[in-house]
Amino acid sequence: MSTSEEVYAASPLDPVETHRLVTENPVDTAVFDQSIVDKAQAIIARYPQARSALLPMLHLVQSVEGYVSQAGITFCADQLDLSNAEVSAVATFYTMYKRRPCGEHLVSVCTNTLCAALGGDAIYAKLREHLGSDGKPLGHEQTAGEPGTPGSITLEHAECLAACDLGPVLQVNYEYFDNQTPDGALGLVKSLQAGEKPHPTRGAPLTDFRQAELQLAGFFEGRDADLDGPSAAPETVRGARIAAERGWTAPAMPDNADFPPLPEKK
């Protein structure tokens, strides 16, 4: 391309990333086979208006490629009759859509204030160090190992994961590992790298990042057993348990609580 220097100069991305985006053209959407097209259409059918399907469809795209590629953007644009730019603008807005291929597993460590104060920052630092190479800690959203291959891990720090009573928490493929310690988290990541799949504290048995993304797109076929994965941690039911032990209850409901009369039309 004759103007490539201008392209690189104007790009806010680093040269390698820019190079990838420029040279990945023309995009080939063949990885999105008929079964994926069918799923995309099934997503569209859930909504009164097609465009509402875009967020789940981007999750679907990540279930195929482990990130949102140019091809993934083109695929969504084609399915929804949008421009690539419209889809790109959406994909880049949300942190769960990854711009580079992810590892077999995505490890997200909450480093928001409360978890951080309880050890979340230390956990994140420990994992960065362990997963880094050449004496350099691994960076946010970077991957240790060849993306997609067994044992490869993408690491990120996350904002509050709505599990503060169980902090510090981390997630693997969006399943909760509660009440973590730096050493415990290190052991967890080492076993993931060794191909093991430790059970989440709350959640279903681990699969991998792409499988998780397929479920986020709303496809759960054949996964009924996942529902029984544990959920109520002791913390979750603490108040309810104390109340049960002490015989505390809400006041009894009346036998037959009537509705108010139909209000007069104004």
Binding site: C160, D165, A204, A240
Partner: protein, 426 residues
């Protein structure tokens, strides 16, 4: 006298396989729906008004009034959208609720949709909670199979479809108009109000947006009645509420108590401060609500009580920090969060949070000066009330309240620095 804890929403959580339709039906599940379908929709709206139920998503808007704003007989489709984006730091009540008892939310959705005459409802749930999403999906499927969803629900002639929609990681999508844009497949950026969602919401049609805990409360109000609901809590903030205790307490967790309970009472139930280290500061309702200190242990935690004491009830997310935690550090961490989550639509918030982070990081590194405190307050002043949405207002809460109660800690960071500087020039 009402008991100290009043499990209503959290009661079923103790039951084995509480998330299944079978358990739910054994424990009065879907009895409120059967009852509601015998009423006129307007009676349900009136009952909700009478109950005094106020939104549990943070702002405390009266729920029945919100439903009443939906124009009826306008010939447009109506929508109900459930805000399950739970992302306000400290907030961790909706996620366990949906994990343990998804059918209570679905029953509330059906009743509310019937009341506002909506035939399509969406549950917008943050994407990072896969176990919740799978439980919600399964519960929706079970509800369809049992005839609680779909066409002609329980022979009433009322139709309703419900979709579970996974978000993709953006705190701002909890703001109701940003949520609607996101649900329409766009970037999640807030809309100008008015028009309000009640007249121009999802797909520009009348829409109610309510929080998970709000809507999960509805079946109990239908079964128990407005007066029963008002036996708990206080006059203007009635009902039970899930209080989430986290941080430096012996037994953090979810405690459902009548509105108006105090932190002192809750701490007592939670075994006190962890290892006996004294309390330093806490949030009554997430990081967007101004900090409280040990002087606020007896503030009644309801909408009025928290406001009169200079904060807000927010999401009753009680993040509790002991004497070991530096206030400037905590404030810096929260500010980094707001900077990251600022959607970039308006200048005060986008630029302001950027500069606030720079200044706070500098101070925490020990490189600040006393005038930085004034600069912080000045920037906050330019954000508060001048931002396009409430994220900006929330972002300044930790800073202004942190400086209000703990200015000496900010100054101490600078003193250290002045000494270093003085030493350097000597």
């Amino acid at each position: 006298m009402v008991d100290n804890l009043t499990p209503v929403l959290t009661k079923r959580w103790l039951s084995p396989r509480s998330w299944t339709l079978k358990t739910y039906e054994q424990l009065e599940g879907y009895t409120a729906l059967r009852k509601a379908l015998t009423a006129h929709p307007d009676q349900l709206i009136q009952q909700c008004k009478d109950s005094g139920l106020r939104g549990r998503g943070g702002a405390g808007f009266p729920t029945g009034m919100k439903w009443g704003f939906i124009p009826q007989g306008d010939g447009k489709p109506h929508y109900l959208v459930i805000n399950a984006d739970e992302g306000e730091p400290g907030t961790c009540k909706d996620i366990p609720l949906m994990m343990a008892d998804p059918h209570s939310l679905i029953e509330g959705i059906i009743i509310t949709s019937y009341a506002i005459r909506a035939n399509f409802a969406a549950i917008y749930v943050r994407g990072e909670v896969l176990h919740v999403i799978r439980r919600l999906n399964a519960a929706v499927r079970e509800a369809y199979e049992a005839g609680y969803l779909g066409k002609d629900i329980l022979g009433s002639g009322f139709d309703l479809d419900v979709v579970v929609h996974a978000g993709a990681g953006a705190y701002i999508c909890g703001e109701e108009t940003a949520l609607l844009d996101s649900l329409e497949g766009r970037r999640g950026q807030p809309r100008l109000k008015p028009p309000f969602p009640a007249t121009s919401g999802l797909y520009a049609s009348p829409t109610v947006v309510n929080n998970v805990e709000t809507i999960a409360s509805v079946p109990y109000i239908v079964n128990g009645g407005a007066d029963w609901f008002r036996t708990m809590g206080r006059e203007r903030s009635p009902g039970p509420k899930i209080f989430s205790l986290s941080g430096h307490v012996e037994r953090p967790g979810q405690y459902e108590a009548p509105m108006g309970v105090t932190l002192r009472e809750l701490l007592d139930l939670a075994g006190g401060m962890k290892d006996g280290v004294p309390l330093k500061f806490w949030t009554p309702g997430g990081s967007s609500t101004p900090l409280f200190t040990a002087d606020h242990l007896d503030v009644p935690l309801d909408f009025e009580g928290a406001a009169e004491a200079g904060s807000m009830l927010g999401t009753t997310a009680l993040q509790i920090f002991n004497e070991t935690v530096s206030v400037p550090w905590a404030v810096m961490k929260w500010t980094e969060f707001y900077k990251h989550e600022s959607c970039g639509k308006c200048t005060p918030c986008r630029e302001g949070t950027y500069w606030l982070v720079q200044i706070l990081q500098r101070m925490v590194r020990g490189e600040g000066t006393a005038s930085d405190i004034d600069t912080l307050l000045d920037v906050c002043d330019n954000i508060l009330g001048r931002s396009f949405c409430a994220l900006g207002d929330g972002a300044v809460s930790p800073i202004t309240s942190g400086i209000k109660y703990f200015k000496h800690e900010f100054l101490a960071l600078c003193d250290q620095n002045s000494q270093v500087l003085a030493g350097a020039t000597a």
